[in-house]
């Protein structure tokens, strides 16, 4: 089955991982800008990173027939530095028109601080002023619930936003309902220890249905599996869910959301898709 990984940090992965993803049915991915594992010291460091996201990674992906898309921002962790964040936000418009750029992301909160909230709102302002979709990071572990509620407060207070063009990622059992009820898209991140397992993601699909729900691997430099979406596909099959339902979640939903971006230039693969026959 073809699938799309809507949130994966390929700058942290080897070229072998691109090959493995292609072999497993992945046809494309979107890569939000995030924390590198250390705080960068200057705006120029981000310029290099944005060039890597918009030029280097699409070329690496294309070697295996994969389409690589990206989102740009300063992540929530480094957003504690408001002065640096403002320099980055000022620079981002230079990149918004480049091929494969889908919007502003992954913006969000990390420890739910005042500075993070200020930078989050300034990113939203950037997205609104440039008519860009938004991809959002919600905090980890004990910070996730209050942080997600704060993010929803900031988004829902802004009448200019089209909620159908906002994806709130890393939802779990205690945050998914709030996000969907407010009319946003929600992403479940399949990630060991923190976030969600393929089994719990399948549970949430059974509880809330497939509308406006995505699954992603987040595959990054931490302990993570870039092939987590195929793990989810297998779990859904083992439970007896129809292929059409699974395909909607892992292929059609991401494409429906990304199609709202001007930078989403995607043609389905010309090679026929292998499918398991439904009975």
């Amino acid at each position: 089955m073809y699938y799309f990984d809507p949130h994966i940090h390929m700058v942290s992965r080897t070229t072998d991982d691109y090959e493995t993803l292609a072999k497993m049915g992945c046809v494309g991915m979107s890569e939000p800008a995030f924390w590198a594992g250390y705080d960068r010291g200057s705006a120029e460091g981000f310029r290099d990173y944005f060039n890597q996201l918009t030029e280097t990674e699409p070329k690496r992906a294309a070697q295996y027939g994969l389409k690589h898309f990206t989102w740009l921002c300063i992540n929530a962790k480094e957003a504690e530095n408001v002065q640096l964040s403002r320099e980055i936000i000022k620079m981002i418009p230079e990149f918004l028109g480049k091929p494969g750029v889908l919007g502003v992301g992954e913006i969000g909160l990390n420890k739910n601080t005042r500075n993070e909230s200020i930078v989050f709102m300034e990113h939203v302002e950037l997205a609104v002023n440039h008519d860009q979709p938004i991809l959002i990071h919600t905090p980890h572990l004990e910070d996730k619930y209050p942080g997600t509620r704060m993010i929803l407060d900031m988004l829902c207070d802004d009448a200019r936003l089209d909620r159908n063009r906002v994806l709130v990622d890393h939802v779990e059992e205690h945050t998914v309902r709030n996000v969907l009820d407010e009319g946003f898209w929600a992403g479940m991140t399949l990630y060991p220890v923190s976030k969600c397992t393929p089994q719990r993601a399948a549970d949430m699909i059974e509880i809330y249905g497939p509308e406006r729900l995505l699954v992603n691997s987040a595959g990054d430099w931490g302990p993570s599996r870039p092939t987590a979406v195929p793990d989810f596909i297998l779990e859904m099959r083992r439970r007896g869910h129809p292929e059409s339902m699974i395909r909607r979640i892992v292929y059609e939903n991401p494409i429906s959301f990304f199609r709202q971006s001007r930078g989403f230039d995607f043609e389905p693969p010309s090679v026929p898709e292998a499918r398991i026959t439904e009975h």
Binding site: S117, V124, D153, D158, Y208, E211, R239
Partner: protein, 92 residues
């Protein structure tokens, strides 16, 4: 929000599939508690252990949202006065 879907598997089928996995997970928790007990010192007053015991209590309740309830036990509270405390105002 879209409608919930029924699980294609019956409760019996799910137990057949997951019994050994659940058994193994419970044993892991039991062994972790034993390991903590063998360690030097006392963690009875550790708030993390109190949350773990609260979560175990929630696990034993008859409800269909145990995962959500346990997530909330391990969460910090949400304060809807946060914009005032931070002295910031989201755009309207």
């Amino acid at each position: 929000m879209s409608s919930p879907m029924s699980s294609p598997m019956s409760a019996d089928q799910i137990v057949d599939r997951e019994y050994l996995e659940i058994r193994a997970k419970i044993l892991e928790v039991a062994a972790s508690f034993d390991r903590i007990g063998r360690g030097a010192g006392d963690v009875v007053q550790d708030p993390r252990m109190q949350r773990i015991h609260e979560a175990l209590d929630a696990l034993g309740q008859a409800s269909d949202d145990r995962a959500e309830q346990i997530q909330l036990i391990f969460s910090l509270p949400y304060d809807d006065d946060w914009p005032e405390k931070f002295d910031i105002r989201p755009p309207s």
